[in-house]
């Protein structure tokens, strides 16, 4: 009743102006163009970086890509990342919940986890290579290890930062311990758990690239390294771009799954 439209004469052009053809969009496109321009100038007109390919060369390389080959490599890396990530989730999530929710588990597990954590996952490469015979399992272990700690720490942190009024309110309804975990604690900790997963998938991609560069057994990391050794530099940059794209895709995927689990956050 009180709500009425002030401006009923908005035509199509106004809408377009508002959403697409405004200064913000122009500036954003400018941003990318300026970057490409700076890159070209740096490479073309200074002696120092002459080995680095120009954007044009990279664009040209795009048409020389053998689609079959590149998609196999993408597929291989994806499978490794997903295996490691899911393994990390499967093992890391329960441990994170245990440390966050049970005092005994916290006392028992937390110091051990805290001692191993500072060692960066990359430093595990030599031991992993030593321990696992199969190269696939080496790479999957490394990706798993990269995903493990962010998931554990964010699950734990998410649970410990739940507003204490929520469990207290639930307690006065006579909820039991399991109900408390599933109905109150986990939903409330969900945003941070998904933040952890996003961090984890980023590190998983980093790990897969490093492991593949060293292991020389296919995958995008290997593909980039191979083109580096045969000095096909435009391909190297293209490969980096593809890796970035895959990483971004995974991160968006987790956002989509996350927003499905946390519908209550998307109302506004």
């Amino acid at each position: 009743m009180s709500a009425s439209t002030l401006n009923t004469t908005s035509n199509l052009w106004k809408q377009v102006r508002k959403t697409v053809a405004n200064w913000t969009t122009v500036r954003r496109i400018m941003s990318v163009l300026l970057f490409l321009l700076a890159w070209t100038i740096l490479v073309q007109f200074t002696g120092q970086f002459h080995q680095i390919p120009t954007p044009a060369a990279v664009f040209a390389a795009l048409f020389q890509l053998k689609l079959g080959v590149i998609f196999t490599e993408i597929f291989r890396s994806f499978v490794r990342v997903l295996c490691g990530f899911l393994l990390g989730l499967l093992i890391g999530f329960p441990i994170g919940v245990a440390i966050g929710y049970s005092r005994i588990a916290n006392y028992l597990l937390f110091p051990a986890v805290e001692m191993v954590r500072p060692i960066p996952p990359i430093a595990w490469i030599p031991l992993t290579v030593l321990f696992f015979i199969n190269i696939e399992s080496q790479i999957v272990f490394l990706t798993f290890y990269g995903a493990f700690f962010p998931i554990v720490y964010n699950t734990m942190g998410g649970i410990s930062e739940v507003d204490i009024r929520l469990p207290r309110a639930a307690m006065s309804f006579g909820i039991n311990r399991m109900g408390m975990l599933w109905k109150i604690i986990l939903p409330a900790a969900m945003p941070q758990i998904f933040t952890g997963m996003k961090v984890a998938i980023g590190i998983t991609w980093l790990m897969v690239v490093a492991a593949e560069m060293i292991a020389s057994k296919g995958g995008l990391g290997y593909w980039v390294w191979y083109h580096h050794t045969v000095m096909e530099y435009p391909m190297v940059i293209l490969g980096m771009g593809i890796i970035g794209l895959c990483g971004a895709l995974c991160s968006v995927g987790i956002d989509v799954i996350g927003s499905h689990f946390m519908k209550w956050r998307n109302i506004f």
Binding site: W23, I104, L108, L127
Partner: protein, 288 residues
Amino acid sequence: MKNQINTIPEKINESDFVFERPSFLSKIFNLKMVLNTASVLSLFVIWGLLVNFGIYRFVLIPGPAEVLEWGIKWMGSKDFWMDASLSTLRVLGGFTFACLIAIPTGLMIGWNKIFSDLTFPTLEILRPIPGIAYIPIAILFFPWEEASVAFICFVGAFFPILLNTITGVKLIDRDYFRAAQCLGSKPRHIFWHIVVPGALPSISTGAALGMGIAWMASVAGEMISGKWGLGYRIWEAYTLIRYPLIVDGMIVIGLLGLGSSTLIRFITLRLIPWRKAITESLDESITK
């Protein structure tokens, strides 16, 4: 891990309301201490047992005793100090550059819409590319190996610091800007007195995060392209079948990484005294 809700008491016991002075023995032998010690010890015991009984391929993995022995020997050599100091220098170099560029850029992106539109899309395109993937380019870019490893550390540390700085600025309460405006602040004054201090806590988090990733990147960089440094040393130990040295190297890397992150937290905590004031007043209210 203060203020943590570990367990929700099932019911309130009478004993919860009885305050007794804890005796010396109960201070040492409380549940927490016992379990924490058990946790750390069991890590080493399980490791030792697995290696000792050679379960699956644990025969190949060095045991705790061997690692200790080699570690002491290695710490005495000149190589160790060379490796450790070189790696630290590379990390610090890359990290410092990352801070110098990422913090001002992040502050500007968070504060100024036009600057944000002009730079953020490009950065957003570059961000998902993991630091490790820059290794081939870094080798091309810098024929000097020191610089190429430092560059990889720089790329690794850059984005966590940048993104945290941006969110730091965006999270500043809008009322603070309005209050400053109506108190007569000009834009420059607002930048130095509202934007910078307001974003500091978040920048501190980003810096600690970036430091961790810089260490990780340095290890990868040295493994692939180095001739000195801890990352190179553990890879060399693998190829020369000096396996205990691998574990020693991992431990040293872990300790140095932990040390530098702690240092950053310590330094930044000095820069944000009002945060300390919050925790202090919380403690006060709890003890009162």
